[in-house]
Amino acid sequence: MLARSLISLMLISGAVSAQSLPRTTEGSPNLQGIWQVANRASYNIEDHVARHDMPAGRGVVDGGEIPYQAWALEQRNANFSARAAADPLSKCYLPGVPRMMYMEFPFHIFQTNDHVAITFEWQQVFRLIYANGEPPMYPGIEAWMGHSRGRWEGDVFVVDVTDHNDSTWFDAAGNFHSDAMQLTERYTMLDKDTIEYAVSIDDPQVFTRPWTMRMELHRQTKMDRILEYQCQAEVEEANGDFERDERVWYPAPIPDDNAPFDAAAGSPLPQLSVPAEVSRLADGTPDISGYYMADAGGANYGLEARERDFLMPASRGQVVDPPDGRLPYQTWAREESNDRALPHRGYDDPTAHCFVAGVPRSHYVPSPFFILQPPGYVVVLHERMSWRQIPLDGRAHLPDQMRLWQGDSVGRWIDDTLVVESKNFNGKAWLNEAGDVISHAQTVVETFTPTGADQVIYRATVADPIAYTRPWTIEMPFNSQDEELLEVACLEDNGDLQHLKDVRDEYRARQQEEN
């Protein structure tokens, strides 16, 4: 009798514990939220004592040691000795999976029925885990972050990660793998604020048997959004390769001789109508999720209409206000824009360095992007490895001194249009390759209006009193397709930058000679 009571008590407490997990409306544990490890695995996944630049830490490998083949253990030891320069992360290259999961930066998990997205603070990296049961559209295409397909097995989210390259390490200690590696990740929610993250590594070219790492992810209950750490941009700002622009970077003041900014100027744009057949989420808001490519018409080469010029493509012009299609520049900013179009300034375009494109440029760089609508958010994943997460809960913007490449975005649905306001920019981005100017003072109001089953009309109104005399608006369609995102590892293969630097350096040397 007592035993039976005990058993039923245990069953009840088990049931209570399982029930106390946050769950989605479909009943799966809800992993959504901001998470981070509290371990030193990113330094060394095995037990290790402290060294210069490496705090001591306990290992996360089941059984303690990684079962290397003899040659591979020698290789690991050689990697360890050469780690300062040999660690791919020392060049800000994509960390790969699983290393990305236990770096000392928080990440945000977003969850829908068909997808789980993970956005990382570190260099705006993201993972898009397809959980729709469909076979991959592009099997066998190798990537730094691999390719992730997930499924629920009971309350455990299981992800197969395949198609890795052999260029990433597990940690800063030189632990490595080959491109034959296959991973199986298991995300098990232990309570509402803890996930057990276990990852099994199978790589017969390097190890004698499969092995597993196991650690806890902790919910960051005091964080309401993750920020940015643009690894490569920080390196290049520190070493002088990416030069500060005092006129547009935060906290540049409005120039004394600027014309007054007419904040109220603006012509009404045609109302967009949302057809009845637009699909909707359970809460009635339009479903705009999926893969998109902007029909940008050359916006990345100029927002004003222009003809093709040698290798700079034409632009059909995207400015719909002012009605003349011209950007309402301050005089100095028009001159700066013209100067940036010269060959010796090509090096100054942040995207030539593979830095993130900013807003609104991220949408027309041109590369595709994927929109997700998890509860409370709209999330945009740009194939060129950057993300935007737009909370819909009416929160305030970050304090003014917090400045980001992508700015801080908050959104809301007004009728059937998603309206997103962004500010807190750092002013480091360009609007396009033609060098159209934008400063940290920009406020951007974007609207996303579904005008058909496969189309969203995008408008962005930019108010920037440093570079412009009044607000202006661009417009372009985003077209949805049945496609999957691939990976753009830009920095890792950026053969162009040195050429652009040579052109700039030669120009500067010539200028110096002439003076």
């Binding site: 490519m293 093709r308 290798l311 060959p343 995207t351 041109p366 060129r384 990976e487 590892a489 050429h499």
Partner: protein, 149 residues
């Protein structure tokens, strides 16, 4: 051209490719708004005053983004072999059109026309890449101003 159809999308893309191949090679008259993945100014990097025409043997292709790179060995007028780097469209765009890594093996002979980098290095933005039989590789090539032909 080694075509190993491994999915439906790829086969239909290949059909498009083959249809395109039948167009006049080297024609750049048909302008299309191509969705290429430029991330830097081609006009800043390459020189309109340095047009080049090369024939060489593929040593490697890097399937990278936002641009791929084809490396070819080209014999110059002194009989010295120079390894040229040719900038192509983004690997992701090529993959979405059905091309795969094995499609351009080392040893393939290519003829290319384009513009050399301003810094004088053996690097080129190409507007036409053809096989020896005249068929077009990757529907032309590399930079956003040049249409897909």
């Amino acid at each position: 051209m080694n075509i190993a159809p491994d999915n439906k999308k790829r086969i239909s893309n290949m059909k498009q490719q083959l249809a395109l191949v039948s167009l006049v090679v080297g024609s750049v008259a048909v302008f299309m708004s191509a969705s290429v993945l430029a991330h830097h100014s081609f006009a800043a990097e390459f020189d309109a005053d340095r047009p080049i025409e090369l024939t060489g043997t593929v040593t490697e292709m890097r399937w990278s983004n936002p641009h791929g790179w084809i490396y070819i060995d080209v014999e110059d007028e002194h009989g010295d072999v120079v390894n040229w780097a040719l900038e192509t469209r983004a690997a992701n765009g090529l993959i979405r059109r059905g091309w795969r890594k094995d499609d351009l093996p080392a040893g393939t002979v290519l003829k290319v026309e384009g513009w050399q980098a301003r810094n004088g290095s053996p690097t080129a933005s190409v507007f036409s890449i053809t096989f020896t039989d005249g068929k077009t590789l990757f529907a032309g090539t590399s930079n956003p101003a040049v249409p897909e032909n």
